[in-house]
Amino acid sequence: MARQFTPKVVTANALIEGDVIYLTDRDMWTRDMHMAELITDEAHAQLRLLDAQRRPSEAVGAYLADAAPGPNGPEPTHFREDFRRRGPSNYAHGKQEGRAYV
């Protein structure tokens, strides 16, 4: 049996600020992982990654990150993605600065 596909989000860094960004199903970039498009189909994931890579003036280093559905939208499954959506642990900088991230 084929291995089950782990759901994904398309993520990258914003060209100017370097912020972590995610691709929404409306083809917009969001800084909030909960607003990202959760992709459950492998072929669709590849297409969406290509879509993101075609926007080099907005995003750098787009890739597919594992995610899981949550009550408010996609949630990270790996600690690296959890740090990316939040910010560093030594200062309240990054996304956690100024607003709740969950």
């Binding site: 860094n13 060209l15 100017i16 600020e17 370097g18 912020d19 972590v20 080099p56 003036s57 750098v60 280093g61 499954t77 790996h78 600690f79 690296r80 740090f83 990316r84 910010g87 560093p88 642990s89 030594n90 200062y91 900088h93 990054g94 996304k95």
Partner: protein, 554 residues
């Protein structure tokens, strides 16, 4: 210290103008990221986890007050009000915006600083003993030679696209405070029959394949240095493994071919290159040396120091840990700890940078140093000024008395910032420092070097820590491996891994067990952790780290 010539200033200005154009073309879409990336890396600009990061060179760790103040201004204007001093004597800004970086580079150029060759497969910032020009045990100040190497290696046409990066460190003292044996080339100034020269060590390095460097030449006459360096780097540049990034560093070339083969090839190349050096470099070096002439050290009494030392226990404790003997009478070297308990190792706020700059200007002959141990040094201070300096440091949160102790931890940025990291380093360092401060055991434990890396690339020098901690990703969970017995000095050694790693929650209790075991095992209170480890080997420490294994085996 060295002042830019017109040539230097023009060169940096031109590079900055080029980079400004490159950034504009990237933003306009004229350059793709693939085209832009090598250009930004050549100027020290990385894209990390949460933001861009700009790595600025502090050549051989030397700064004046104007430069330190400018770093503070940059942190305030374009970053988040702080900077991070690194294990290669650089400073990193963690939050610059792409559009602002050309302005930051221009601001740096105003004070004769830059970010050139702080990344990429070139010869990186040359590091040096952070006590250079001040230490009592020094043969000669290594910084003029370091500056000569910088000028030679900057934009060197042959060495811009090498198999991999190349790091050089230099010391002029018998005590190695520059980790020279863990560099691609380590240079030590030595004397033989009254003549000054270099011991050249090659093929050291940390990372995934840690190696202690081997002696390539035990005595190289001073005048032959650049020709010999060029021979060494060019030999490797031709035969170094470009097919495999993990085997590309010179340490692998030396390891695979053997030091004798490398020596033969280098010496043959050296014979060819040597006649091409006409002596211009030595004339240049003489000029550079004049600029590094030691200040006129004032002669005053040290009563103020004696009185404070007798009467103020906080001052005494700080003086006992944070001072190092100076070559000039009545003077001392002050290490300013950037390791306040619970804070991020190596971070300084802009206000703290200004305080350090001001102290250097008023009391320190306008000199500062950055150490690979992520502290800042006032290399020339008169003892009489110490009470005043201590009082001002204290007010700024900079008077932590812990140099060389358990909380003076080297830690890389780890997964809190770095895109390559596999686990966090900073919070581990914060927890260890906080815990041992609570236990009030630091002074009792004595000299102990803990070094933490958040991935196998070993920016946190974990291999050469008395206790090394390496953070890894094990099946999606942070896991920390402990190595013991590493040594970064002239008696350099790579530490040995003791056993399976510990989780994020388990690592601090494990360290507590380890250090408690040392306190029980040591023969006298003066026997350091490393000495006890060398006397007894890993077994008793292993038993302390893994008590359940011992119980199972019983």
């Amino acid at each position: 210290m060295y002042k830019y010539s017109d040539f230097d200033a023009d060169f940096v200005a031109e590079r900055n103008a080029q980079f400004r154009g490159q950034v504009e073309r990237r933003i306009s879409g004229a350059l793709t990221e693939d085209e832009f990336k090598p250009l930004r890396l050549m100027n020290g600009l990385y894209l990390q986890l949460h933001a861009y990061m700009l790595r600025v060179a502090v050549p051989y760790g030397t700064l004046n007050s104007r430069q330190m103040t400018k770093l503070a201004d940059i942190a305030d204007r374009w970053d988040k009000g702080y900077g991070h001093f690194t294990t290669r004597q650089n400073i990193q800004f963690n939050w610059p915006k792409l559009r602002d970086v050309p302005d930051i580079l221009d601001a740096l150029a105003d004070v004769q600083m830059h970010a050139i060759q702080t990344s990429g497969n070139c010869i990186r910032n040359v590091t040096a003993d952070h006590f250079a020009g001040a230490a009592a045990d020094e043969i000669a100040d290594p910084r003029p030679v370091a500056e000569l190497i910088r000028q030679w290696s900057t934009d060197h046409p042959e060495f811009q696209f090498m198999p991999r990066k190349f790091k050089i460190a230099i010391t002029g003292a018998a005590s190695d405070r520059a980790v020279t044996k863990a560099h691609d080339i380590g240079l030590r100034i030595v004397e033989r029959d009254g003549e000054e020269g270099f011991e050249v060590v090659v093929g050291g390095g940390l990372g995934r394949t840690p190696m202690i460097g081997k002696v390539l030449r035990d005595f190289l006459p001073r005048a032959d240095l650049l020709a010999y360096l060029e021979a060494t780097v060019s030999t490797w540049n031709q035969i170094g493994r470009r097919d495999n990034k993990y085997k590309a560093r010179i340490k692998i070339t030396v390891h695979e071919l053997g030091i004798d083969t490398i020596r033969e090839q280098v010496e043959a190349r050296f014979e060819k290159l040597r006649p091409t050096y006409s002596g211009v470099d030595q004339a240049l070096l003489a000029d550079i040396e004049d600029q590094f002439a030691a200040p006129e050290f004032a002669s005053r009494d040290v009563d103020a120091y004696d009185i404070a030392y007798r009467n103020d226990p906080v001052f005494r404790s700080w003086a006992d840990t944070n001072l190092t003997p100076h070559m000039a009478e009545g003077h001392t070297i002050v290490s300013i700890s950037l390791k306040a308990h619970g804070q991020t190792p190596g971070d300084a706020t802009s206000d703290q940078m200004r305080v350090m700059a001001s102290l250097a200007k008023r009391f320190g002959y306008d000199e500062l140093r950055v150490s690979h141990e992520q502290n800042v040094i006032l290399p020339h201070v008169h003892m009489a000024d110490l009470p005043q300096i201590h009082a001002e440091l204290k007010k700024a949160g900079l008077a932590t008395a812990n140099i060389g102790l358990v909380s003076d931890i080297i830690a890389c940025p780890g997964m809190d910032y770095c895109a390559l990291a596999t686990a966090r380093s900073i919070p581990i360092a914060q927890q260890i420092a906080t815990r041992f401060d609570e236990l009030k055991l630091e002074n009792d434990i004595g000299e102990l070097k803990i070094k933490i890396s958040g991935c196998i690339n070993a920016c946190g020098h974990h291999h050469v820590g008395h206790i090394g901690i390496l953070g890894l990703d094990r099946a999606g969970v942070e896991n920390y491996q402990i190595t013991l017995g590493g040594d970064a000095t002239e008696t350099a050694e790579i530490g040995s891994r003791v056993g399976p790693g510990f989780s994020y929650e388990e690592i601090l209790p494990a360290l507590e067990r380890l250090i408690a075991a040392y306190l029980t095992l040591r023969e006298t209170s003066g026997e350091t952790f490393l000495e006890t480890y060398r006397r007894l080997g890993a077994a008793p420490f292993k038993a302390a780290l893994y008590p359940e294994t011992k119980a199972n085996a019983a």
